[in-house]
């Protein structure tokens, strides 16, 4: 091969390389455009997802509005875990103030379970077992008063039987006060 032929071959190789370089630039531009298009598709998907999430949240807010309102009314009446001593004291003070013959009183804290499953929102119950022996009106008035001033307290058990004196009634009462896991709003 002489130098003229060699120069021609070199030019041909240059032509090929230039063409390939041009094509590679074009391919790179096409790839960048495809990447941008894919990102736009992804953005549209996310827009749809956001719309669905917002609708779900709105629906949930609407569905739970009555429940939220109901709980807002009741939440301040629930004692919190930190107030467990206070819950016992409230009942024992009410027993002392009742001016009734109290035969026994016992307080315990028990885990609150339903179907052997712990209740996460109300994990502890303060259970008071009280035995009174006094007149029927005093006993029922006191019981009603306790249910009135502590609306979240519930009577777990009540047993009325003949008392030791005349028309007196013996009342065995179990009161349960639930304790919340977190601080409620102020009353």
């Amino acid at each position: 091969m002489n130098t003229k032929q060699l120069a021609a071959v070199l030019l041909v190789v240059s032509i090929v390389l230039i063409f390939q370089f041009g094509m590679s630039l074009r391919t790179r531009a096409t790839a960048a455009a495809s990447q941008a298009d894919a990102a736009v598709v992804e953005q549209e998907k996310l827009k749809t997802q956001l719309l669905a999430e917002e609708e779900l949240l709105d629906d949930l807010r609407k569905q739970s509005s009555d429940l939220t309102k109901f709980v807002e009314d009741w939440e301040p009446y629930f004692a919190v875990l930190e107030e467990q001593d206070e819950a016992e004291t409230t009942i024992s003070m009410a027993v002392r103030a009742a001016d009734m013959l109290n035969l026994s009183q016992r307080y315990e804290q028990v885990p609150h379970t339903i179907n052997n499953k712990s209740n996460d929102s109300l994990p502890i119950l303060v259970r008071s077992s009280l035995v009174f022996d006094d007149s029927y009106p005093k006993l029922l008035n006191w019981m009603g008063e306790m249910e009135r001033i502590e609306p979240t307290m519930r009577v777990g058990k009540v047993l009325l039987s003949r008392g030791s004196r005349g028309n007196d009634v013996k009342m065995e009462l179990v009161l349960e006060v639930p304790l919340r896991a977190k601080s409620p709003k102020k009353k």
């Binding site: 002489n2 021609a8 030019l11 041909v12 240059s14 032509i15 230039i18 063409f19 041009g22 630039l25 074009r26 790179r28 531009a29 096409t30 960048a32 455009a33 941008a36 990102a39 736009v40 992804e42 953005q43 996310l46 827009k47 997802q49 956001l50 999430e53 779900l56 949240l57 949930l60 807010r61 739970s64 429940l67 939220t68 109901f70 709980v71 009314d73 009741w74 939440e75 009446y77 339903i114 179907n115 996460d120 029927y136 029922l140 008035n141 019981m143 009603g144 249910e147 009135r148 609306p151 979240t152 307290m153 519930r154 009577v155 777990g156 058990k157 009540v158 009325l160 039987s161 003949r162």
Partner: protein, 202 residues
């Protein structure tokens, strides 16, 4: 220093081409070379401009996507928080609905007694698993068992429904056992004030 033009021409003396001429078709090679340069200039610059525009568009979209993803995460977090609040609220609601006062029920049972009937004992126990369900045990000293039916009629007026009732006679007393299921009255949910109004004078 001046050089004679003739002397300069001497440097460029005619030379005989030592190599044979290339075929005519080879003349296309330089033409193609220039065309390829033109191709590179046009296609390359266009491609680079497109690539830059696409990259800019991609970056904008990625930025917007990132903001969207942030909004989605925030919405999901808000929903998760709301669901947690609903679970807790449901627990509180279940407690409230399952802790209806028993004093009005006891007073109503006692009030329903006719003259000549005495209550030997009266027990009400709340089912811990289903707090709206009560186990009633009532022992009466009465002339007839009609008293039990009259009492249960009064109890039904307080939105309780009895089931699995059993009645027996032990030591001359009527023993009545039943489960009472409290049905939440229709209408708005009770507030603490409504609950307090349910308490009656014995």
């Amino acid at each position: 220093m001046l050089i004679n033009a003739r002397n300069i021409d001497d440097f460029k003396t005619e030379r005989k081409d030592l190599l044979p001429a290339l075929p005519v078709t080879y003349r296309l090679v330089p033409i193609l070379f220039y065309l390829s340069l033109a191709f590179l200039a046009v296609v390359g610059s266009t491609a680079m401009w497109h690539a830059r525009v696409a990259l800019q568009r991609y970056q904008n979209v990625v930025q917007a996507t990132s903001a969207l993803q942030g909004k989605i995460d925030a919405t999901k977090a808000a929903r998760s928080e709301l669901e947690k609040a609903i679970r807790e609220a449901t627990d509180l609601e279940n407690w409230v609905l399952g802790s209806m006062p028993l004093q009005p029920l006891i007073v109503e049972i006692v009030r329903s007694m006719d003259e000549g009937t005495t209550i030997v004992d009266l027990g009400i126990e709340r089912d811990p698993e289903t707090p709206s369900q009560l186990r009633l045990s009532l022992t009466l000293n009465s002339d007839s068992d009609k008293q039990i039916e009259e009492t249960m009629q009064k109890v039904r007026l307080l939105d309780y429904r009895e089931f699995s009732p059993t009645q027996s006679m032990v030591n001359g007393n009527y023993e009545y056992r039943a489960s009472l299921l409290w049905r939440k009255p229709s209408g708005p949910m009770p507030s603490p004030q409504d609950r307090a109004k349910e308490i009656v004078q014995p």
